[in-house]
């Protein structure tokens, strides 16, 4: 009888400990979402749907205005960076994982080493490096494109690719590496060359590739530090002309930072609204990726 009691007590104690740990893990997540929703949602609905299109109202006024330029900036930055970064990352991953000749294998090993190192770089340093590079190149680029500025959409796109492409590369490469050799040999044995084999293997890895893409997307949307020295930020719409790439643009994350630190009450409120929209975007992306992966 006694040992049974003892066991029950021990089991209950463990249960209590685990439940507490669970609650402690959940608490910060819920409080984060709660705070942002509480402070941001009301602002979004105060000027709905103008919040998505308007520019910020004059600082100190009773209006809030909107974060249209920042939303557009994020969309431009992320769309361009994804369009350029995704094929580069996936092709590099395929090259590394499907290397056959020894020079290919060695180059692949070097690529993997450097990329894994890049993952660890502080993103603010990446932004600074891109800024440095663009500043150095600026005189030459200006010879071709007179309006070019180092603080620009183009710099932002390059910085975002440098921050996020290594992740996508690593995930796809790990996925390809995890495919058993006998599956790879099966495809080769059917007469497929390397390009076709890689295509079949990537299709086999569909869910990994989707996951890699959605995680990169979320990382790009939420990246801040790399954009300080590159996209720079802007509270107005950029003129949609041929110089679009070479002018500063805003982004949601930069809006959260700059508006939030501005000290003007209406801009601080706008910063909460930007946080709310940012959070919703990331949560939606997270949910979407879960649905896509489950659908596989």
């Amino acid at each position: 009888m006694k040992p049974l009691m003892l066991r029950k007590i021990r089991s209950l104690t463990m249960l209590a400990l685990i439940s507490t740990a669970f609650a402690l893990t959940l608490l910060p997540v819920l409080s984060l979402i709660g705070t942002v929703v509480y402070n941001g949602m009301s602002v979004v609905f105060r000027n709905f749907p103008g919040i998505f299109f308007d520019i910020p109202a004059a600082p100190g006024s009773s209006e809030v205005g909107g974060i249209g330029p920042h939303l557009l900036g994020t969309m431009l930055l992320v769309a361009l960076a994804m369009a350029i970064g995704t094929p580069i990352s996936i092709l590099a991953a395929v090259f590394t994982a499907e290397a056959i000749k020894s020079w290919e294998r060695n180059l692949g090993r070097l690529t993997r080493l450097l990329t894994h190192m890049m993952i660890e770089f502080p993103t603010i340093v990446v932004g600074l490096a891109v800024y440095g590079l663009m500043t150095t190149l600026a005189p030459y680029i200006r010879a071709l494109i007179p309006g070019f500025r180092p603080f620009s959409l183009l710099s932002g796109v390059i910085a975002l690719i440098m921050v996020s492409a290594p992740y996508m590369y690593a995930q796809v490469e790990d996925g390809l590496k995890s495919i058993p050799q006998h599956i790879r040999e099966a495809v080769y044995s059917l007469g497929a060359g390397r390009v076709l084999t890689s295509y079949v293997l990537l299709r086999y890895l569909k869910s990994t590739v989707y996951a890699a893409i959605s995680i990169s997307l979320a990382r790009m949307i939420s990246e801040t530090a790399a954009l300080f020295f590159t996209a720079f930020g802007s509270n107005v719409y950029p003129p949609l002309d041929s110089n679009l790439l070479f002018r500063p643009v805003g982004s949601l994350t930069l809006a959260v930072y700059t508006l939030g630190l501005s000290g003007y009450e209406n801009w601080v409120e706008l910063s909460w609204a930007a946080s709310f929209i940012l959070l919703m975007l990331c949560l939606a992306l997270f949910a979407l990726s879960k649905v896509v992966i489950r659908g596989e």
């Binding site: 006998h182 040999e185 059917l190 007469g191 076709l196 079949v200 086999y204």
Partner: protein, 253 residues
């Protein structure tokens, strides 16, 4: 004798270690040709050199000549994909692409090599390949389910169907039953005997009983060399080589 495979003085080393040391072999058309021998004797490497799957490994060097149906396999002008179209392969572990449907697995080869021009032609090809692999009746109502839903034995027959859909001249089988239960193995063995009507089967096995049951010819490999080749009946009743005799009587290997 009309040989479909001719191997002349084949030397293979991987990472500096020599695996095959001067292999000479002629394989006649439309027979089951078994290669048996203990683990590490080079059977699998020999098989993998025939369709140049060996190319995928690091540090492989091949010397010598292999002719398959007139194609000089290791000639620098020969495209490995061309060789692999001619030579189907079935592996030790059943390896259909798990999340691909049964139909798509069989259709993979014809699609990769653009063997068919219409959906109707492809349907027919897939059906015939599955019939030849004795699998059609079991899967005809669920062709679009993922291949991973099949049992191990069915998956292996699916892999045979996938190889057959390419209409190869030679079918390489690398211990195709070693991961299957006895009933599934028996079915595959039965199938192997049937297959030789359409294709030459080169079967690697470490199971000498299997070799005696299904093959017409058998070669005994040891330490990277072929010690003895001959008609199966002959080798199993009157082996000339002492090691062959020891192997088939189960005294080593």
């Amino acid at each position: 004798m009309d040989s479909v495979v001719q191997i002349r003085d084949l030397w293979v080393s991987i990472g500096g270690r020599s695996i095959l040391r001067g292999v000479n072999l002629e394989i006649p058309r439309n027979v089951v040709f078994a290669i048996m021998g203990p683990s590490g004797s080079g059977k699998s490497t020999l098989l993998r050199s025939l369709n140049r799957i060996l190319d995928l490994y690091e540090g492989v060097s091949v010397k010598g000549q292999i002719l398959i149906d007139g194609v000089d396999v290791y000639n620098s002008k020969t495209d490995p994909s061309e060789v692999r179209r001619l030579v189907g392969m079935v592996f030790q572990i059943p390896n259909p692409i798990p999340n691909m449907s049964i139909y798509d697995n069989v259709a993979l080869g014809p699609r990769i090599n653009k063997l068919v021009r219409s959906r109707w032609e492809l349907d027919n090809l897939v059906k015939r390949a599955l019939e030849k692999a004795y699998l059609w009746d079991e899967v005809k109502d669920r062709l679009h389910l993922p291949a991973s839903k099949l049992s191990g034995g069915q998956q292996q027959r699916l892999c045979i169907a996938r190889a057959l859909a390419m209409k190869p001249k030679v079918l390489l089988m690398d211990e195709p039953t070693s991961n299957l239960d006895p009933v599934a193995s028996a079915k595959i063995e039965e199938l192997i005997v049937e297959l030789k009507r359409d294709v030459t089967v080169v079967l690697v096995t470490h199971n000498s009983f299997q070799a005696s049951r299904v093959s017409d010819y058998v070669a005994f490999m040891y330490d990277g060399q072929i010690l003895e080749v001959g008609l199966t009946g002959q080798i199993f009743t009157r082996p000339k080589n002492k090691l062959t005799e020891k192997y088939i009587t189960g005294r080593f290997g």
